[in-house]
């Protein structure tokens, strides 16, 4: 029976290795050469950077988060926001679709009467417990009013207590959408 001669299979089956591979020493030296080459290359570029030269070359490929970030894709699901009507009130009509679909059960809405009978219903409170949220985006999919979106590109909302992880209607309304530019490009954060 012939077996595929790829590296993983050879590693799993010592019989498939050649004599020199089985002694390990040459292979280790080969690996050290690769690592050391990158080390000295990056060291050299960083030294040149200090001297103000070669600024267009990156010292290392690593993204230096949080000093640097990549441009996010428009389909990224980030922190929620509630959209607003022209007068600044929430578009949400408290239909409870998002609360119903939410697999983590992290949305809590209380409905109340809207003074305008043509709108009829509005949320008295709208809380999202981000400590429970799984960022599946179902709430955005299901919303019949385009009242909730996940396009803020805010990912750092960690807090010191569980209570602070619950975002109420005012915090959700104050979130703004993030313009998408340069998807995947590394940007310095000012």
């Amino acid at each position: 029976m012939s077996r595929p001669k790829d590296a993983m299979n050879r590693l799993r089956d010592p019989e498939a290795l050649s004599f020199w591979q089985r002694t390990y020493v040459p292979e280790i030296l080969r690996g050290l050469k690769l690592t050391a080459a990158h080390f000295f290359r990056n060291l050299l570029i960083h030294i040149f950077h200090l001297a103000g030269l070669w600024k267009d070359r990156r010292g290392a490929e690593t993204v230096q988060y949080p000093e640097e970030v990549r441009g996010y894709s428009p389909r990224l699901r980030s922190l929620h926001r509630l959209t607003k009507r022209d007068d600044g009130s929430p578009r949400c009509v408290a239909c409870m679709m998002c609360e119903t679909i939410c697999p983590a059960r992290c949305i809590y809405i209380v409905a109340t009467e809207h003074p305008d009978p043509n709108i009829e219903k509005r949320p008295a409170s709208f809380d999202i417990d981000l400590g429970k949220c799984v960022f599946c985006g179902f709430c955005v999919e299901v919303c019949p009013e385009d009242a909730i979106r996940m396009d803020t590109h805010i990912l750092n909302f960690a807090a010191y207590s569980r209570q602070e992880m619950v975002w109420d209607i005012n915090r959700l309304l104050s979130n703004e959408p993030q313009r998408v530019e340069g998807i995947g490009e590394i940007r310095k954060v000012k």
């Binding site: 408290a94 239909c95 119903t100 209380v110 009467e113 009978p117 009829e120 219903k121």
Partner: protein, 538 residues
Amino acid sequence: MPTLTIDGQQVTVSKGATIMQAAEALGIYIPRYCYHPGLRVAGSCRMCLVEIEKAPKLDIACYRQAAEGMVVHTTTEPVKLARQSILEFLLSNHPLDCPVCDQSGECDLQNFYMEFGLYQSRFLENKIKRRKAFPIGRHVMLDNERCILCSRCVRFCEEVSRSHELGIVNRGDRSEIALREGSQLDNEYSGNVIDICPVGALTEREFRFQCRVWYLNRAASVCPGCSRGCNIELHYNVNRPHQSGGKRVLRLKPRFNAEVNKWWMCDEGRYGFEFIDAPSRLQDFEIRTAQRTVVASREQAVQTLSDWIGDSIDRHGSQSLGIFLSPKLSNEDLYGIGKFARHVGIDCLDFRNPSERPGYQDDFLIQADKNPNTRGCLELGLYRRSEDSGGWMAGEIQRGKVRVLIVFLQDLALAPEFQQVLGRLERLVFVGSNRNGTAEIASLVVPSATYAEKDGSFTNFEGRAQRFERAVVPLGSAVAEADLVASVAVSFGMQREEFERERLLSDLRREYPFFDQEALNPPELEWVYQTPIGQERL
């Protein structure tokens, strides 16, 4: 007795029966809007069109009488196309504001459209604007845009409540439901128009935006509002407590019973459930001395009560104990209490509050006796036959004969006879669900479960015993009355098993042949509404 064939099944119906009734007998469901079994046939919605062989065109099942040899089809292509076209027509001026509509989830327009609708809309015109969301009575909100003019509510007000408040005004696509000039929809049965409205045109003001209907669970129950004992469904929300501000029972709906209430119930009963989650609910056992009131555990309270009863029997005999029952207690609770009273030899029992006056009644459902189980108390013989009211017990207290009185639910402090003498008692024990004047002065207060929080049965004024099932757990430390008595009875040599719910009922049926009724068998629940709601817990 014509025999006809519907969808390949033969059925024989009585003369004059309609195709709709024949299909119902076969268990075939024909969609309908204007047809309601409790109202006259209007034939206006055309949703129930069926194909009858040898007939020139489709005919409405709700009006066409069954005839010998008739062959009816309800699922053929012409029928489906007719339903689709009618739905398209009904939606042409329907606002489709399902997100804000309280009916969504139990709306026949939604349900039938999901099943038979035309999914690619062809509608390009502008919809007619009408008045939205305005109250037309104490309990009912009207939205004219959502109305499909089935006229069920109009016929209800003409035929059932006979109050004639509603009508359809204007012509063609300008037609709409309107109140008779200068009137309001506030008859005693106005809530029923909300139930029979197939869409969200008539919604309930009390229930409005409290909870989406798919979060509701339901339990079969019996209305405790009067001695009629209307069959009801209890709709409660325990899955999303934040939506309704912690209130659990959110609405009552009538449950069909041909002998008692048919499809209807009165507003008094419908909105008489507030006490279940009211702030006045008793939630803790309280022991009160002259100086202060302390919250006790269930064990402490039961021990205290047992000690008082035992002590009083030891010192003055069982004649020194009195029990004031309530016709709001279930048959099982009454029987359990009666059993214990017999065991320890208490014969000073009554349930008739002398301060209670007969209330409003009419010739339809509402009874003057506002207690659900007066007949049960009478059949169990838990009163002194020689007296016409419970006032005699005040005399017994006055003479110093009764020293310890246990009051169930009733507010004796309201009755002038008792006001004077309650202070003479050595011990006053109050067992009840809500705080009242008697609870304020009782030396021991026991919180008890309401009818929504326990299984049981009530006997209505005609002598029909009817079961109700538990919907929610008792609030706080509340206990069912029979369970409290069971805990006390154990100290007097009785077995706890004797007070189990099913055991109480079977003993009751054996001992009192009156209660051996079919209706007390474990219920098979038939839901009135076509739309199954809240069955799976979301």
